[in-house]
């Protein structure tokens, strides 16, 4: 078995204590541990201390508050996928949370953990021995080259969290504390196109909650994922779709649309140029065609995750078209 590097562990019971402990340089948060512990075993990080959220009960709430669904950052993915309020107000999020990895991971893993999941790459998420054999790591590990984009100077590891495209599609916001002042960021602005620092959260900040504004009109939303296996795997193709409608019917006229694609690079991609969809009935085959063609045109997967990029690109088209068709049935 791979060994974990040595680290201290703190188990605060309040957000204030957790934030105070995070000020230790290099300290990292651990909630379910399903992302950070394998990464530590791969020696991708060697934090002096892990701050556990296990005893911080304030981060476990799910409630509707001030026109938004609020989900505490330490709510498990199993709870997110099953909670009646999530299913009522954000069904595509419940769907995506229920598709993360396998049941055991979802029992441990949290929504905050998935939102902050480190980006992944076939050349990064390997043992230190393997990376040495490769020639000494890459931009994101020990080295200074990129094996995905030769001569690239930006890390292009892939955003691999199932819930992120959905949260961006639902205009979610994230509550952060621990910086100079508590702040709220839009999910859409939370991610950067830099795999080394792919989120705007500072190391001393703690994400405490995710807020999803309640829909102001009828809405149909879904998440589509493809991976080789139907369990365990990270997504290889991933897209969230949201249509706001005039009336609650498959034939409702689309008033707003947001399509967000994951597993391209470190950032979720918000698909543009979808205005032609507005004013059309959701069930109009043109809607599925316009969306899937826009996705195909704008989204170019890279060889960063272990599956052929050209295939993943053509699957984006097929799967988003089918997702729209599924919503309008």
């Amino acid at each position: 078995m791979l060994r974990l590097p040595q680290f201290g562990i703190e188990t605060p019971s309040t957000v204030e204590d957790a934030v105070r402990l995070l000020k230790t340089p290099g300290a990292r948060v651990v909630a379910g541990g399903t992302d950070i512990l394998p990464n530590l075993k791969h020696l991708l990080d060697t934090p002096p201390v892990l701050v556990s959220l296990a005893a911080v009960s304030a981060l476990r709430e799910v409630k509707v508050e001030e026109g938004a669904l609020l989900i505490g950052a330490a709510v498990t993915l199993t709870e997110v996928s099953e909670h009646p309020l999530v299913r009522e107000h954000a069904p595509s999020l419940a769907q995506a949370a229920g598709l993360v990895a396998g049941p055991l991971h979802r029992n441990m893993g949290t929504l905050g953990g998935n939102v902050n999941l480190d980006v992944r790459c076939r050349y990064v998420n390997q043992t230190k021995f393997w990376r040495d054999a490769l020639g000494g790591g890459c931009l994101k590990s020990e080295g200074n080259v990129c094996f995905v984009v030769p001569k690239g100077r930006n890390c292009v590891a892939a955003l691999s969290a199932d819930t992120v495209p959905v949260l961006v599609s639902l205009d979610a916001t994230f509550d952060l504390v621990g910086g100079e002042t508590p702040r709220t960021t839009d999910a859409q602005d939370y991610y950067r196109a830099d795999g080394i620092h792919h989120i705007v959260k500072e190391p001393e900040e703690l994400m405490i909650a995710v807020r999803i504004p309640l829909a102001q009109s009828p809405r149909r939303a879904t998440y589509t994922k493809w991976s080789v296996r139907q369990s365990i795997d990270f997504p290889l193709v991933s897209a969230a779709l949201r249509f706001d409608l005039e009336t609650d019917s498959p034939h409702g006229v689309v008033t707003a649309v947001k399509v967000v694609v994951g597993v391209l690079n470190p950032r979720p991609r918000v698909v543009g140029k979808l205005d032609d969809v507005l004013g059309k009935k959701l069930s109009d085959p043109a809607v599925a065609r316009i969306v899937s063609e826009a996705v195909h045109k704008q989204c170019k997967p890279l060889e960063n995750v272990p599956y052929e990029a050209p295939y993943r690109r053509s699957m984006l088209k097929v799967l988003t078209r089918r997702a729209v068709e599924g919503l309008s049935q």
Partner: protein, 810 residues
């Protein structure tokens, strides 16, 4: 080349020889029922102690330093810094193991640790024993190695090029040739050239690995005083490990004890010695303290010994009625850096193909090359899963060309029972026709195949496999299996067997046979296995040998005891011995069942008459059931199992995703000694084949220094329980005179045909041939798009009607 007529005789005399008074039919009370495995509850409750659960006082932890290069000379190796570290007790390098070894005695071509050069990424070069794992890891990092990097080869044909640098340090042939076999029977070229239909195809089976959930692990300890070295290892071949330890460590065999604790899966991946066993043994001898080594999952991928990648060309001739006239094949095997079982694999790639279909003529030419990859070896269905994939697709192509039902074509070529194959292997019982009929009926093949629309399909394939090999891997005339059984006055039995239970249930099989003969329920029987100090030698769990061979040995011992016990009871009841039977923990008078005594009492009577009740049984294989040519013994088995697979698939023509909806697998195991275990083996084999068909591919990255493509169970994808289809496991019984109660193997045969059945179903669904594994969505989609383009250009007619054509908008 083979004298077939001579082979056709001899069975009846065999049968007669086995016909003693104990074969008088009597009602079985255990055989053919279902049993809970003797170790099932411990495993389910999580209390089974595997090798890694062993913790001995003062135990050190061993880690192995591995090569980051695919091919390099070791220029210098400096262990002084590691040795000087606090907490480090010992360091070994290749120089401590100068004696080469190999599981096949003819090809000793690896050292416990590399001596002068490394041959693949992950090759072991030094090992340390330290007070804990972290210290051991730090110590291997402190070992300094200087390499001279050499050109590396990842393709067998490139490695065989004349100017290629030789890879294996012990290879005597040069040019990276590991083994070359050409065997010809009759004149296949003329038979194929003159055939009414010739089917020719190139097939590529990319390698796969075993992915047993338990990684390899070994613990060694030297007994103070006696100096006896004990090695506990997660091995499936205790005896071969014992021999190689003695050879490499230069210790007498009686100074070594090998124990195999319960295993968490093996599948062929633990069927030879590995570096860790030698390292812990040597380090324990050097330090005087127990030493443990547990592989990481990554190291399991480097130790590998998985299924060989094979590039195969097949040419088959048929009459217009679908009868095979001849088969000719040319195969390149990618062996990786060492021989492992490769000599046998190279033979098996041709020798095991000659049933269940009759080949009038046959030639195979197989060439195994060394490459700079983890060594390949035996995986469930050793050497014959790959050619079976090619052959069954060849048959399917012929059926399409000839307009024949693929099941009917197979029936027409069926070889039958009690006759020799073209290469001289003697087939005994043969339930293949029943297997075909079972899956045909259960799947409603005839009615449904005609009506399934585009995208849906059914595929058939058949296969055969050995029940052990007639010749052990080191030549000797001793029995291939032996079992000792002791009864005692408390009314229990202890069964001592060297056989390795690797999860296949061999300990349960021994308990069932003992129970059947001696009337004890399973819980009164303790099977003590795979401990070289307690048990008679057994050759191990490979080539599906244990049920037939060790089962026969157990039956032999149990019958001897039964005679003693029944005799003692008969004497006291003053009846003939035949009137006494043993069942349900009692000795019973068959003609007056009211008269019975508890077995404990019967055992006491027998012990009073005979002294301690212990008997040994042994089994040796028939030596007259193979061809008389060089290599003719390889592939010879006492009995052959038969399998038919039928797969139903749904192929998504827009994504290339193949959804296997259902698999029917009928397997002729001769006689099911324990039905649930046989069904479990059929299911496990089918699922393993399913994973190989659709997902698995054991690759190194040639573009990136030959690193493994992803040595983890995240990147090397095996199916989860959500991915696997429903399987209908159908037991077919064609009892074989060679097997205990007629039993043949069930652990490997049912893997073979699962892969081509899926390939043939894909063809039936969408009209494309997948001649390369795995049938991954990009490959399937590319083939579908290619076919659609050819249909659009008029080159091909539409494959079949698509009931939902109008729905698809692509």
């Amino acid at each position: 080349m083979a004298d077939r007529d001579a082979m056709d005789e001899g069975v009846s005399s065999e049968e007669a020889a086995r016909n003693d008074e104990d074969s008088t039919p009597r009602e079985a009370w255990q055989i053919g029922t279902s049993h809970r495995k003797v170790d099932a509850m411990e495993r389910m409750r999580g209390v089974t102690r595997y090798t890694d659960d062993l913790k001995l006082p003062g135990m050190l932890h061993c880690k192995i330093k591995r090569s980051p290069h695919a091919h390099a000379n070791i220029v210098s190796l400096d262990t002084s810094k590691a040795m000087a570290m606090e907490g480090v007790f010992g360091v070994v390098t290749g120089k401590d193991f100068p004696e080469p070894y190999g599981v096949i005695p003819w090809t000793p071509d690896e050292n416990a640790l590399c001596v002068e050069k490394v041959c693949h990424v992950g090759d072991g070069i030094a090992a340390v024993a330290a007070v804990d794992e972290d210290t051991a890891n730090a110590a291997i990092d402190a070992i300094e190695v200087e390499y001279e990097v050499l050109p590396a080869y990842y393709d067998p044909q490139e490695a065989l090029a004349e100017d290629a640098v030789s890879i294996n340090p012990w290879s005597r042939k040069g040019n990276n040739l590991s083994k070359d076999v050409v065997l010809e029977f009759g004149d296949p070229d003329a038979a194929i050239a003159g055939a009414e239909l010739i089917v020719q195809g190139d097939y590529h089976f990319e390698g796969t690995t075993h992915a047993a959930i338990e990684p390899h692990c070994a613990v060694a300890s030297v007994e103070p005083g006696s100096g006896v070295l004990t090695v506990w290892s997660a091995t499936q071949v205790s005896h071969y490990l014992h021999r190689e330890l003695a050879k490499v460590l230069k210790l007498a065999a009686h100074r070594i004890r090998v124990i195999q604790p319960p295993l968490g899966g093996a599948f062929g991946g633990k069927s030879e010695p590995f570096d860790l066993e030698f390292c812990v043994a040597k380090l324990a001898m050097m330090t005087g303290r127990p030493v443990k080594c547990l592989y990481t999952r990554e190291e399991v991928f480097y130790s590998h010994r998985g299924r060989h990648p094979m590039k195969m060309n097949y040419k088959t001739g048929f009459t217009k009625d679908g009868k095979i006239t001849g088969v000719a094949s040319r195969t390149f095997l990618d062996g990786g850096a060492y021989s492992s079982f490769g000599l046998v694999t190279t033979y098996y790639s041709g020798q095991l193909l000659c049933a269940p279909y009759d080949f009038p003529t046959y030639r195979f030419h197989s060439t195994r090359a060394y490459t700079n990859k983890p060594a390949c070896g035996p995986k469930r269905g050793h050497g014959s899963v790959q050619p079976r994939f090619a052959m069954e697709i060849q048959l399917d192509k012929a059926a399409v060309e000839l307009g024949l039902d693929p099941i009917e074509l197979r029936r027409r070529n069926e070889i039958g029972s009690n006759r020799a194959t073209v290469n001289g292997l003697m087939v005994g019982s043969n339930g293949f026709l029943d297997c075909l009929a079972s899956v045909e009926r259960r799947s409603e093949w005839t009615s449904r195949r005609a009506t399934l629309g585009y995208g849906r399909g059914l595929g058939i394939a058949g296969s055969t496999y050995i029940s052990g090999t007639n010749y052990p891997i080191y030549p000797n005339e001793m029995p291939q299996a032996a079992v000792q059984i002791c009864l005692d006055r408390s009314g229990r039995a202890r069964v001592f067997s060297g056989a390795n239970d690797i999860g296949q249930g061999s300990n349960t099989m021994l308990a069932v046979i003992t129970s059947e003969e001696l009337g004890l329920p399973l819980e009164d029987i303790r099977v003590l296995s795979a401990d070289s100090d307690l048990c008679p030698v057994d050759l191990g769990a490979y080539s599906s040998r244990i049920t037939l061979m060790v089962g026969n040995a157990c039956l032999d011992a149990a019958k001897k005891l039964r005679r003693k016990v029944c005799g003692a009871v008969a004497k006291r009841w003053e009846v003939p011995r035949k009137r006494v039977t043993l069942a349900g923990r009692r000795a019973i008078d068959i003609e007056d069942p009211e008269r019975n005594v508890p077995l404990a009492e019967a055992f006491q009577w027998a012990e009073a008459d005979h002294g301690l009740l212990g008997e040994t049984g042994s089994y040796n294989t028939p030596k007259d059931r193979h061809g008389s040519y060089r290599g003719g013994t390889i592939g010879a088995s006492p009995a052959y199992s038969f399998t038919a697979h039928l797969a139903e698939v749904n192929v998504d023509d827009e994504t290339g995703v193949v959804n296997v909806e259902r698999i029917w697998c009928a397997h002729d195991c001769g006689r099911a000694l324990s039905r649930k275990i046989v069904e479990g083996q059929i299911e496990g084999s089918s699922y393993m084949g399913f994973g190989e068909a659709l997902m698995e591919e054991h690759l190194v990255d040639a573009a990136h220094s030959g690193v493994h493509a992803g040595p983890s169970l995240l990147d090397y994808r095996i199916p989860t329980s959500v991915d696997t289809p429903d399987i209908e496991a159908i037991i077919v019984e064609a009892p074989d005179a060679q097997g205990p109660y007629g039993a043949k193997e069930a652990g490997e045969g049912p893997l073979h045909s699962s892969i081509p059945a899926i390939a043939n179903a894909i063809y039936d669904a969408v009209g494309v041939r997948l001649d390369r594994l795995p049938f991954s969505p990009p490959r399937v989609l590319a083939a579908i798009e290619d076919r659609k383009a050819r249909e659009a250009s008029g080159e091909l007619a539409p494959h079949k009607d698509s009931p939902d054509d109008e729905k698809r908008s692509a």
